[in-house]
């Protein structure tokens, strides 16, 4: 019987099945400082250890300030916020105590978990990969079944290298044709979420299929799969292909030599068979996708940059009308306003969605020889990892950013989530390459417009949301 890619990976990981639930083996576990301390504490209290510490990789990212970490004399700088400092110290202590491989805050390989997993070759096709973070879906870009888990599940994986799961349904998101000039993978995934809604993929694993994804770079695929959770799907998959293998070859933790050849032979079987059935299917014509921007406080509140702030009464559903009105009040926007007339005070280029080298190149190509507008008070670029930062500096991108008036920062989650010093002030707007425009997400009272890296750069130059195609 023909199988979907999801079914193949699921079947290969079932240890035991018991009606509704199955015991699933977990091949890879990424750990960060925020969702792990209570899990380590649970192990300690029950006198348990990690079953497979070598299948685990820990790195700090969420809490870590993105300002300099080492002073010119080589001394490690202290972290000002005592709670953040305690949580970061707990990760270092816990990983040492339990023997978990750990990349420290000042290591050149440090970065956002979802950037370093692929970068190190820790993420591999056909694996099950989990992390106590919902954007784990990103790793599906390389054909890993990857999803976010809560802290109790983190502890369960640590103790047993398994999870008790019920199988999800399968959903196909097919995009055929080709994206127009100026339309990036970020614009596409925002458009998709606008179409399916934030609960469109709930209970499902999405597989992204079609010409557009086949043509897309691995970094673009990571951006798309990353935001699967914003469409409600715990995981998003893209079948591994020659591009995936080329991306992974010679990465530090990827297989080598003869094992590499064997691995690639197996990975080539990881695709949905002809005739396999999906529980749900959505088709999108690439040609209709424009540069996208959000107007509200849910990632499904998407319009093309050429569009307007919608009238809440234009929604058919009365509860959506009320929600839209609340969103507009929070965002300080009036129905009918042209999106391109919305003025922006803050620019954030970074996050696990858009902080890889191609993202930085796209933003820098807009900013080369230009400066941020006077109305833009704060503009930062936060590379996804130390290696991305090194690469960008080797290409001179850091100079383009700083000459344009941006701050060039150290790797971390930064202004994506308002739990480190990088925050958007109350009542101010941010054109942000991150993934969530929730109320208070970038700091209390912050107003977020989700955009692509090039669109964020263009907004910095004009001081308004701007159509990149006009540049």
């Amino acid at each position: 019987m023909p199988k979907t890619l999801y079914q193949k990976i699921w079947d290969a990981h079932v240890i035991e099945s018991n009606g509704d639930t199955a015991l699933i083996y977990i091949d890879r576990h990424l750990v960060h400082e925020v969702t792990s301390p209570q899990a380590f504490e649970g192990l300690r209290n029950a006198r348990r250890k990690l079953r497979r510490p070598e299948l685990t990789l820990a790195v700090p990212d969420h809490n870590l300030p993105t300002t300099a970490r080492i002073d010119p004399s080589g001394t490690i700088l202290p972290i000002a916020d005592p709670q953040s400092a305690a949580q970061l110290a707990a990760l270092e202590k816990n990983t040492a105590e339990f023997g978990v491989p750990y990349i420290g805050a000042t290591d050149r390989n440090q970065g956002i978990v979802h950037v370093i997993g692929p970068e190190q070759g820790f993420t591999l096709p056909g694996t099950t990969l989990v992390c106590g973070d919902s954007h784990s879906a990103a790793h599906g870009a390389l054909g890993a079944l990857a999803f976010g888990i809560g802290t109790s599940e983190v502890e369960h994986v640590m103790a047993t290298q398994t999870l008790m799961l019920s199988q999800s349904k399968s959903m196909e998101v097919r995009v055929d044709g080709a994206l127009n000039a100026g339309v990036s993978p970020k614009d596409l995934i925002l458009h998709i979420i606008g179409v399916i809604g934030t609960a469109g993929g709930t209970g499902h694993v999405i597989e992204y299929r079609g010409k557009v994804f086949e043509e897309m770079s691995i970094e673009g695929r990571l951006t798309v799969a990353n935001m699967s959770i914003e469409g409600g799907a715990r995981a998003g998959l893209i079948a591994p292909d020659d591009k995936s293998f080329a991306y992974l070859k010679d990465r530090p933790m990827a297989p080598k030599g003869e094992q590499w050849e064997t691995a690639v032979r197996y990975w080539k079987t990881l695709h949905t068979d002809d005739g396999a059935q999906f529980d749900k299917s959505v088709t999108i014509n690439a040609a209709v996708v424009a540069p996208s921007v959000t107007w509200g406080t849910s990632p499904e509140d998407v319009v093309p940059i050429t569009g307007h702030v919608p009238d809440p009464m234009s929604f058919a559903d009365p509860s959506k009308q009320a929600a839209a009105q609340k969103s507009l009040d929070y965002m300080g926007l009036a129905a009918g306003t042209k999106m391109q007339d919305v003025e922006i005070e803050n620019i954030f280029i970074g996050s696990c969605t858009n902080s890889r080298i191609e993202d930085l190149r796209a933003a820098a190509s807009i900013l080369r020889g230009r400066k941020k507008a006077n109305g833009v008070k704060w503009a930062i670029v936060v590379p996804g990892s130390g290696l991305v930062k090194e690469q960008a500096e080797a290409e001179g991108l850091d100079e383009i950013f700083t000459q344009a008036g941006f701050e060039w920062r150290e790797p971390g989650c930064s202004a994506c989530l308002g739990m480190n010093p990088d925050k958007v002030p109350t009542g101010e707007r941010c054109a942000s390459t991150s993934n969530r425009n929730f109320v208070g997400r970038q700091g209390p009272g912050s107003r977020t417009h989700l955009v692509s890296p090039a669109m964020a750069a263009a907004a910095a130059v004009t001081g308004k949301l701007t159509d990149i195609r006009d540049f």
Binding site: E16, G19, D20, T160, F438
Partner: protein, 196 residues
């Protein structure tokens, strides 16, 4: 985990859709290394509004929350379930939940009960004045007005909740099966798992 058989009492007639976990507990509260004490930050932005129901003496301390579609979407933070438990919530009733939130609720012995929109609408009405009763054993939500709404519950989860089972302990009893799987993996995909 504490065994749970039923939840009875007043309910917050909250009803809002797409409540994300940033609303349930903002990120600044996630710096804790403990599971307790998060009730203070629960629904912080909503509680800043005058006349919010969470601080209304009529509902404050209710063990049940009635919410709209897609409750708990967004971040995987289990702090959302911990914060709600810390403010005394033992069960949430909604037309649908995000997958991660319902899992996190379950792990903390909190009931996440899905009912059709019409049933939720009716319970929203009842909750204005009267208590609601959730019977896990018989999988039914009832009121003093003869309302009776049966709900679905995964049999594994139900068993764990009714008996307060430690899921990690249960899985550790399957050690032989896990070891066999690892041995197969070492044969078939040796690059995935180093042999010992």
């Amino acid at each position: 985990m504490k065994a749970i058989k039923c939840v009875s009492g007043r309910a917050y007639p909250f009803g809002r859709e797409n409540i994300d976990t940033d609303i349930i507990i903002p990120a600044k509260w996630l710096k804790t290394i403990s599971r307790t004490g998060l009730g203070e930050g629960a629904f912080e932005t909503l509680r800043a509004e005058a006349d919010n129901m969470f601080d209304n003496p009529e509902y404050a301390g209710s063990p049940i929350l009635i919410a709209g579609d897609n409750f708990g979407c967004g971040s995987s933070r289990e702090h959302a379930a911990w914060a709600m438990a810390d403010m005394g919530i033992a069960a949430v009733i909604a037309p649908s939940f995000s997958d991660i939130f319902s899992g996190n609720a379950f792990k903390n012995g909190m009931l996440a009960i899905e009912l059709p929109q019409e049933a939720v609408d009716r319970l929203m009405e009842v909750a204005q004045t009267d208590p609601i009763h959730i019977d896990l054993e018989n999988q039914v939500v009832t009121t003093a007005f003869q309302d009776r709404f049966p709900f679905e519950m995964d049999s594994f989860r139900k068993n764990c909740l009714l008996n307060g089972l430690d899921e990690i302990g249960l899985t550790m009893q399957r050690d032989n099966a896990i070891t066999d799987h690892e041995a197969d993996l070492q044969q078939q995909q040796p690059w995935l798992i180093p042999s010992r």
